[in-house]
Symmetry: C2
Subunit: 335 residues, 2 copies
């Protein structure tokens, strides 16, 4: 813990003993659908609003993770969750259903790894035996709040991304089998002056690079240490910008081992409506807590650096002509 | 850490080496003004929106706390903050100015103690040397978002409360002089079915009682252990309900040592516009990080249980006919 360090080491290496994911109709047609535990074919999911559907997804993912681990919800000391809806009502109302002591967080699409970093700190510090942490987003609830309701049929530019409908939750504890949380690097705000809410990838890419650079510095490692470094939702536009920024900064990155959840969760050829790729808290939560942890459990990935990227603006800050402050939190997970 | 426990103990007893508060015009006229470091006589505070004024208050409180401690902001490992504005833009934009690694939280008016509990966990776990944590609210930014813009001049019922304009921040570290953070009890959601956003005190009182009850159970103590138990923003209506609930539950409470920040920060006789009292994240943040910590430093209070209460609804959840889920987080501070 050197001055200027942005990183923590979790000496006890908390274990992700279970994780679970939920997705919507477009995610069901995407390339990662086999790693999504519960798939819904209707965006309302039997609820009377999109916000209530989003809440349901968090509840389902949480209960599924507990079921997989064989842990009762009364044994869980803390539930940490965040989402994009004003006042994170999807998370808070899910916390009401679950009845677990609750910490609400807001890191926009970086919420998944913000939650995992806090969760691992609590387990590592022997504060609680079990922590559930997750994040969600819903295409319809996010689009109507941040841009236009989908029903308006507004045209989008090719830099725009598709908010993922889904939720991902994981359950951490002291010991057991599963991927272990080794360390975390918390992000600082990086704001390059971008104001276009249809080009979030470009806004967030510098934050991802800033955090990855800090991670390498704090841990004294390079990109070759990891089998995979994955960003949360830069999409194709932001991904390319991030690669360019690494070059500018003289940081060597293995391009084949640097991927983006927003590009993995959809097939942009078959699903052209996603334009530059997926975004939203669920982009990283579903891809990491579903597909990538499964790959780790199968032994295909041993060392993963999960970097969730968030755009911390709001419709109001946009109206007030503010640029988009961005952040990225990185969590190192090893099998 | 027994099954069912909602509490943590901080063995190393992190120290609040400095704290600072900022207030607006009504807070300047209130009984705690001498404990507020920076007072503004204009709600715009020289900014061009109320949201930017709120951001300014967090920045001022953070910088003032650092100045008091003689700590440079580059030495601070994490900044934790929350507020009421959609997507907590006051906190996130302040984090952009401060340039400190940032964790955004959302616990509505419970954010102050949610932040302090997380901050103390990080310091206790030796994750960071210095953590800054705070919360803010602004009357004009909150009223326009949750109820009506003040300029509409809408009538309010006597159960309504006045959102405090202010920010409070404290700086935690391993050692030094000052109040020490002993333990925390995280709240579960309690929802008694109240739907009236003009009666938040009544909605939140059961959550405060639930958390205080859990705190007594987990630590094996009673209300006589503390010189003062203070809630965040129950106001006069919620305070009375909480006292009734303690009686119903057979929990003995020393009424003279059970106060509410929302009733302390204003003089309801001289400032009748506040109706049942103050509310908002700043109600607890300003009262605790200002007046109460000063009382501890003077030796007037030795053991304080600070219970910040939050209503986790949103204008949208209200429109969708949902009731108000409430939460309270308690932090034990000793001198």
């Amino acid at each position: 813990m050197v001055k200027g360090s942005q990183s923590f080491i979790f000496d006890s290496q908390p274990v992700i003993i279970a994780s679970a994911t939920v997705g919507g109709p477009l995610e069901a047609e995407g390339p990662l659908s086999e790693d999504i535990d519960i798939l819904h074919d209707d965006p309302y999911m039997g609820q009377d609003s999109f916000e209530k559907a989003e809440k349901l997804m968090i509840e389902e993912a949480a209960m599924k993770a507990l079921e997989k681990a064989g842990v009762d919800k009364d044994e869980v000391g803390v539930f940490i969750s965040g989402d994009l809806i004003n006042q994170i009502i999807a998370s808070s109302f899910a916390a009401r259903t679950l009845g677990i002591p609750y910490l609400g967080i807001y890191g926009a699409c970086s919420s998944s790894m913000e939650g995992l970093a806090i969760a691992a700190s609590l387990v590592d510090g022997q504060k609680v035996k079990y922590v559930l942490t997750g994040a969600s987003s819903h295409n319809n609830s996010a689009e109507k709040q941040y841009r236009y309701p989908n029903e308006y049929g507004a045209q989008k530019p090719p830099t725009s991304q598709w908010t993922v409908t889904g939720a991902g939750v994981c359950l951490l504890t002291f010991q057991g089998k599963g991927p272990r949380v080794i360390g975390a690097t918390l992000g600082r705000i990086v704001d390059m002056g971008i104001t276009d809410p249809f080009n979030m990838g470009a806004a967030m890419a510098p934050a991802a690079v800033d955090t990855i650079k800090a991670h390498f510095r704090d841990f004294g490692i390079g990109s070759d240490y990891y089998d995979l470094i994955v960003t949360g939702d830069l999409g194709a536009v932001g991904h390319k910008i991030a690669l360019d920024k690494f070059k500018e900064n003289g940081i060597s990155i293995n391009e084949k081992a640097f991927l983006d959840c927003g590009m993995m969760i959809y097939d942009r050829e078959r699903q052209p409506q996603v334009f530059a790729g997926g975004s939203g808290c669920a982009s990283s939560a579903v891809t990491i807590y579903g597909h990538l942890l499964n790959e780790m459990r199968k032994g295909k990935i041993k060392r993963l650096l999960a970097v969730a990227t968030g755009a911390l603006h709001s419709p109001l800050s946009y109206q007030q002509k503010e640029s988009i402050p961005c952040i990225a939190h990185a969590v190192a997970i090893e099998m």
